[in-house]
Subunit: 158 residues, 2 copies
DNA sequence: CGAGTGAGTTTCATTTCAGAACCCGGAGCG
DNA sequence: CGCTCCGGGTTCTGAAATGAAACTCACTCG
């Protein structure tokens, strides 16, 4: 049915999705970013907040810094101390965070108790829990996932 | 600044995000789902398309099936053969997929060449590349990530 | 009957992960 | 001035996940 085009995958040509996942596609990075969105800044706070092992936290933070998602900035000099904050690119990941959180709320939260201490993201001005929508610029309308169609950008539609 | 509430994390009380990541938060599951959205159905097709090792593909598919993201359905009996398709819950992950793809396009695609064969998701009816927006039901408006505020659902704002 | 195919499973080396313990530069203190 | 504490890591070791390749199995085709 679907032609399943030649698809020269399995070649060492990582798509942006693959690169994105190589950066944040592990079980901790997303949680670190969520913690950062919540206001966590310092190494030990991440460690205590997430329950992550220190060596992994070190590596994850390094990778996120290298990937431009977080920035390591000194907040005092005498004993040199640093804090890890999200860059604008890191903040720009929030749609993905939100999508995952909302999906989880709707599909893996088998008991409402699980959601007890969940952090929710709300529309700042009014405090309403936000929803996410697909927006079509041409049609100036929102639409559900069922109206999505996948296509290849293979420069056939420049 | 932010009070950084007591945050009884590090207790064995996984949030929905953690559970979601335990299900799809590895480097392959998301790619499998993308392939499925593209129309891939069968084991060997996933394997060839993704270049994933077979044992891992087996486990990933099993986990996704257990997690309700995909369904394993026979498509012929005589030699019993199965296909793996997304469930509605799996399709509901597309907002997260889209968010990650779009973030990658904007933040990790250091060369436009990388985006060459990228799959894009478009609005079915008109074919325009979709955008994603946060939607506030109360205000009936879309808004950017900067207008997001994080808050705890800790039943203080029921 | 022998080759081929789809869908795995098994085996084994490599990589990554998690955890505990250790290190280091100041700060507080007696 | 020596001792201990704290934030912020690094170094080790053992457990788990990953990847590649080969093997299995059931069935179909020629």
């Amino acid at each position: 049915m679907s032609p399943t085009p030649p698809a020269q995958r399995s070649t060492p040509e990582p798509t942006t999705l693959e690169r994105t996942l190589a950066l944040v596609g592990d079980r901790w990075s997303i949680l670190i970013i969520r913690a950062a969105l919540r206001g966590v800044r310092r190494f030990d706070d991440y460690q205590a907040d997430l329950g992550i092992a220190r060596p992994i936290l070190t590596r994850r933070l390094q990778r996120l810094v290298e990937g431009g998602v977080m920035a390591k900035e000194p907040y005092q000099d005498h004993p040199p101390r640093f804090e890890y904050r999200l860059t604008p690119a890191g903040v720009a990941l929030s749609p993905a965070l939100v999508a995952l959180i909302r999906w989880g709320d709707q599909h893996v939260a088998d008991s409402p108790d699980t959601r007890r201490a969940e952090i929710v993201l709300v529309h700042g001005p009014c405090g309403t829990e936000l929803e996410q929508a697909f927006w079509c610029r041409s049609c100036a309308t929102t639409f559900p996932p069922t109206a999505i169609r996948a296509t290849s950008r293979d420069r056939t539609d420049t």
